[in-house]
Amino acid sequence: MTPALSDLAFHILLALGEGPSHGYAIGKDVEERSGGHLDPTTGALYQALRRLSEDGLIAKATGPGETDPRRKYFELTERGRQAAGAEAQRLDALVRAARKRKLFPQRA
């Protein structure tokens, strides 16, 4: 049983779904995808990245050589992929349940 992911963690995994990326780009992606609802500060973002690494959902990756050497790249691990998939399923189930109870506009 995989545990539910926090909003921010799920967004980070989503951002990495497109391939390896670095902190600044992840932050931007999260902010855009959430329509500005999530805008983690640098501190919060890296706190989350560290915990995801510790939990083995993401791993450090090597970035393209020509960028700022201070940058750190991250990529999804297999576990991370599974966790994101499970979370998506969970959300999907919730949305379906909501539709059934007419709490959510039906798809045209």
């Binding site: 539910a4 992911l5 989350a48």
Partner: protein, 933 residues
């Protein structure tokens, strides 16, 4: 960026170790992104990031203390949830929804947080007012002094690359002259042609010159300089051009540049001034440019720059020129010194056959002693101002200590509330936000009020400041000073906001903690010591400013011999081209007086050749009938004032005996004179001066009588000439303007020239409102006449006491701040002590102690410390009396009245500050008091 890294290391060391570099990079890019939209957004992003770091730090420590692991994966972690957070789908969903609501309404949330914090602060008005006031005073004092330091000390020279400018000066060990010799014509050419370390060199000399044409004769300060000064300073004229090299050659036509001040004063800032001719000491000189207002070289008094007659052919020449040079890029002062000393050794070869060159080099041990221009300009003032900045910085520290104390008292009383909040699940972020919002709000209020104080203080400093401070007139609260204030506000926020947080962390289990949470003796002693020191400091400053205020009152209460209130004055020069004789000048002045007298609102009007305290009086020795000089005796000196009829009435001067000079005396050219009290007392000690005769000494004319005897018709009170409190009043005499001199008179007459007169208009309405109608009336007589130095008599008097007013205001501000801080300090300490002893007080009350007795005990406790502080302050003030003596007027530095009143006042205020917490203690209900502990 460095700040961010540093904070990161401080706040979240583990995160810093792993991701420090990457985080800094992200932070940089985010700020850079926001910077595109403007400075404001960038600042907001940076602040948000920094605050988040603090919150993070708190959450981090909190988590560690409670032994909690990372909480990213919320439920399902056995270590965190013991069942109650379990329940897949429900809890996280709820949490997410709340998160979403929070994020969606982030501004609302922030607004709510601020509103709540504001409400909490409003519920504690004493705390809020004390904190904001302390911060405002400290920040205000710091920002204003910083503004002055920044302009006057850090960047005193408004010239490009001014750090490369040096003064050129010499000393000669053999002549026992260490420095200050300046340089000579020959040294200038030696350096200008051969010194490789110098990019450009200029020499100059300053002195007073008389200029005529366009607006009457005026004595102004002029500087003769080599044309190279433009290259050295690298400052272009505001209008027109700088001297060309050809104009520096001997025999070139006379040209000059005028200052911005002279341009607006004398030419009404008309661009048409370029190409006009001005007569400088009798030489017609073409005006080729106007320097910008910021150009104050060699000093701010200079109004005219002319070409110095330097030429290599003139040989080595005499010392006495001042010099300035621009060093080449990358050259140090030390290497300049080495090169110039070598060039001095080479002088005989450079000026072969020149005895002066041979005799003034090595043989007298001539060495270069120049400093950087900055050191030469502000060297001594800089130290004083840095000390001032350091002391207000100290004041800020004291203020911080006070505010910290206030916060401690507050957090002490709220431990329970905080513990409950935490028990109910408030997280680290929440608690951080809770406290940071409060202190941020206080800092913003304090910073804003401090900024207001600073802008008033800066304006005061600029108006009252001594004219010798370079660039003082330009001092203002600009971007840098605003940033400085903002930084102070932010730093104080972070400092105070975190105090309760750091104290909270180890108290994670404060709900379980028992009673007996009292501070140690040692901490009490430290607090009392600080409190006593603050009282002593406040007393010293209060006494000093009290003495200054009394001196100022004494000075202003001096009988100045005239009435300065509601009188407008201005000076009016009649150009010699249109008014070419004494009689035309006198009738023109009469026409103006008559026209102005007819204006509504004019009570009296007249004119004199010079006004009290305004300078510009002609002085000469006098001959008194019947007082023959002994051989070698210096004849008495007196200041002459040529006046129109009604002058004494318009000035509000007091007649002691005899009569004033009236219009009839002027019309008939009566040889009469009114003398000042001092002349009467000094030279007519035992006789009645009325009807006696005296005369102005002058070179004997070829024919006619040696003296023109004037008959004394009246005696008037003395008026001050230079400063309000003159140790000995100068002898003054007044004569009708028609018997003074004017244009076209024979040279050598030493009497006031009445072509330029200072008018005095006594008004029935405020003098300032009359300026326009006066100007219009004079325009009606001659459009070419320009008013100069339009001001009220009161302004002239104020200016004369400005130096004392400046010192008084500075001291009064410092005393006010110290008093305020002292009171707040006492209040903070006493409140803290009371809050710490609430339990004990409750027990005593419960056992039947009288509330009055409890209050009295607390006041006594604080009062003892205050009295000790006051005693220390009094002894310091008495010991330091001599330091302030020279600044005082008409009062002893140990004046008992000042000492007693300030002591009583301070004691009263201190006791009040003790009484407020004491009253609170007395009003405690025993039940409540016992419950809090």
């Amino acid at each position: 960026m460095r700040l961010y890294r540093w904070l990161l290391r401080l706040c979240a060391p583990s995160l810093h170790r792993e991701y420090g570099a990457a985080m800094t990079e992200t932070f940089e890019r985010r700020v850079a992104d926001a910077r595109v939209t403007g400075l404001g957004p960038a600042l907001r992003v940076a602040l948000r990031e920094v605050f988040a770091l603090f919150a993070l730090a708190v959450a981090d420590r909190w988590g560690q203390r409670r032994g909690l692991p990372s909480t990213l994966l919320r439920p399902g972690k056995p270590s965190r949830s013991n069942g109650f957070m379990e329940g897949r789908g429900f809890n996280p969903g709820r949490r997410t929804r709340i998160d979403r609501q929070w994020k969606a309404g982030r501004m609302d949330g922030m607004g709510m947080e601020i509103r709540q914090a504001a409400r909490r602060l409003l519920r504690a008005p004493a705390f809020t007012i004390a904190t904001v006031l302390t911060l405002a005073l400290a920040i205000g004092a710091n920002a204003s002094i910083f503004a002055v330091v920044q302009h006057v000390v850090i960047n005193p020279l408004p010239y490009p690359d001014s750090d490369r400018l040096i003064e050129l000066d010499h000393g000669a060990a053999k002549l026992k002259v260490t420095t200050g010799m300046g340089l000579t014509n020959g040294l200038y050419f030696q350096y200008a042609e051969r010194a490789r370390s110098l990019e450009s060199v200029a020499i100059y000399q300053s002195g007073d010159v008389t200029v005529t044409r366009d607006g009457g004769p005026e004595r102004i300060r002029g500087t003769k300089t080599t044309t190279s000064l433009g290259k050295v300073m690298r400052l272009a004229p505001a209008v027109g051009r700088w001297f060309s090299d050809a104009e520096g050659k001997p025999g070139a036509p006379a040209v000059g540049l005028i200052s911005h001040g002279l341009w607006s004063r004398r030419y009404g800032s008309s661009p048409g001034v370029i190409g006009r001719s001005i007569t400088v000491a009798g030489v017609p000189t073409e005006i080729i440019g106007v320097m910008p207002a910021s150009f104050a070289f060699p000093d701010a008094r200079v109004d005219l720059w002319l070409v110095a007659p330097a030429a290599r052919e003139k040989g080595f020449g005499l010392f006495g020129w001042a010099g300035v040079a621009r060093m080449r890029e990358g050259v140090t002062l030390a290497s300049v010194r080495t090169e110039l000393d070598a060039l001095i050794g080479d002088l005989p070869a450079a000026f072969p056959g020149d005895a002066m060159a041979a005799g003034n080099g090595r043989s007298i041990n001539l060495t270069f002693t120049g400093r950087t221009l900055k050191d030469a300009t502000v060297g001594s003032i800089a130290r004083a101002l840095w000390i001032l900045l350091a002391s207000v910085g100290l004041l800020l520290l004291v203020a911080c200590a006070n505010v910290a104390n206030l916060f401690l008292v507050r957090s002490e009383s709220r431990q329970r509330e905080v513990a409950v909040r935490r028990a109910l699940g408030a997280g680290g972020f929440g608690m951080a936000r809770y406290f940071l919002t409060e202190s941020a709000l206080l800092s913003v209020l304090g910073g804003g009020a401090g900024f207001a104080i600073a802008s008033v203080a800066v304006r005061l400093l600029v108006t009252l400041g001594p004219a010798t401070l370079p660039r003082l007139g330009e001092v203002q609260l600009d971007g840098v000073a605003i940033a400085f204030t903002l930084l102070l506000a932010v730093l104080t926020t972070l400092a105070f906001g975190t105090i309760p947080l750091w104290r909270l962390v180890p108290l994670a289990n404060s709900l379980h903690e028992g009673r007996g949470n009292t501070a140690s003796r040692g901490r009490y002693h430290a607090r009392r010591l600080m409190m006593g020191a603050q009282v002593a400091l406040a007393l010293v400053l209060l006494v000093s400013s009290g003495l200054m205020v009394r001196s100022f009152q004494n000075l202003r209460a001096l009988d100045s011999g005239f009435n300065p209130s509601s009188a407008l004055t201005f000076s009016l020069g009649l150009p010699g081209t249109d008014y070419s004789s004494l009689s035309t000048v006198v009738s023109a002045h009469h026409a103006i007086i008559d026209r102005l007298a007819a204006l509504p609102g004019v009570a009296a009007i007249s004119a004199g050749s010079c006004l009290p305290l305004a300078g510009g009086c002609v002085g000469n020795t006098i001959q008194i009938e019947g007082h023959d000089l002994k051989p070698n005796e210096i004849p008495p000196l007196a200041l002459f004032r040529a006046v129109a009829g009604g002058y004494f009435e318009a000035m509000g001067m007091r007649l002691i005996r005899g009569r004033f000079i009236d219009r009839g005396d002027v019309d008939r050219r009566e040889p009469v004179v009114v003398i000042s009290e001092t002349i009467a007392k000094k030279y007519f000690a035992n006789e009645d001066p009325i009807g006696r005769h005296l005369a102005s000494n002058r070179p004997p004319p070829k024919d006619g009588p040696r003296f023109e005897w004037l008959t004394v018709v009246g005696i008037v009170a003395d008026t001050p000439v230079r400063v309000l409190a003159e140790p000995t009043p100068l002898p003054q005499l007044y004569l009708p303007m028609s018997i003074a001199t004017g244009p076209g008179e024979a040279p050598g007459t030493i009497l006031p020239n009445v072509a330029t007169m200072s008018y005095v208009v006594r008004t029935t309405s405020p003098p300032g409102t009359m300026v326009a109608s006066v100007r219009a009336a004079i325009d009606g007589i001659d459009r070419n006449l320009a008013l100069a130095q339009v001001r009220t008599l009161q302004e002239i008097v104020d200016r004369a006491s400005a130096q004392m007013a400046f010192t008084m205001v500075l001291l009064a501000i410092a005393a006010g701040v110290a008093l305020m801080l002292g009171v707040i300090g006492i209040y903070g300490v006493m409140s803290y002590i009371v809050s710490q002893r609430t339990g004990e007080i409750g027990v005593r009350l419960a056992l039947g102690a009288e509330p009055v007795g409890v209050a009295r005990g607390i006041v006594r406790e604080g009062g003892v410390v205050a009295v000790i502080g006051i005693a220390a302050g009094v002894s310091i003030a008495l010991a330091g009396a001599r330091l302030i003596e020279s600044l005082l007027y008409g009062i002893s530095p140990r004046d008992p009245v000042v000492f007693v009143t300030t002591t009583i006042a301070l004691l009263a205020v201190a006791l009040l500050a003790c009484w407020l917490p004491a009253r609170r203690a007395a009003r405690l209900s025993p039940l409540e008091a016992l419950r809090t502990d």
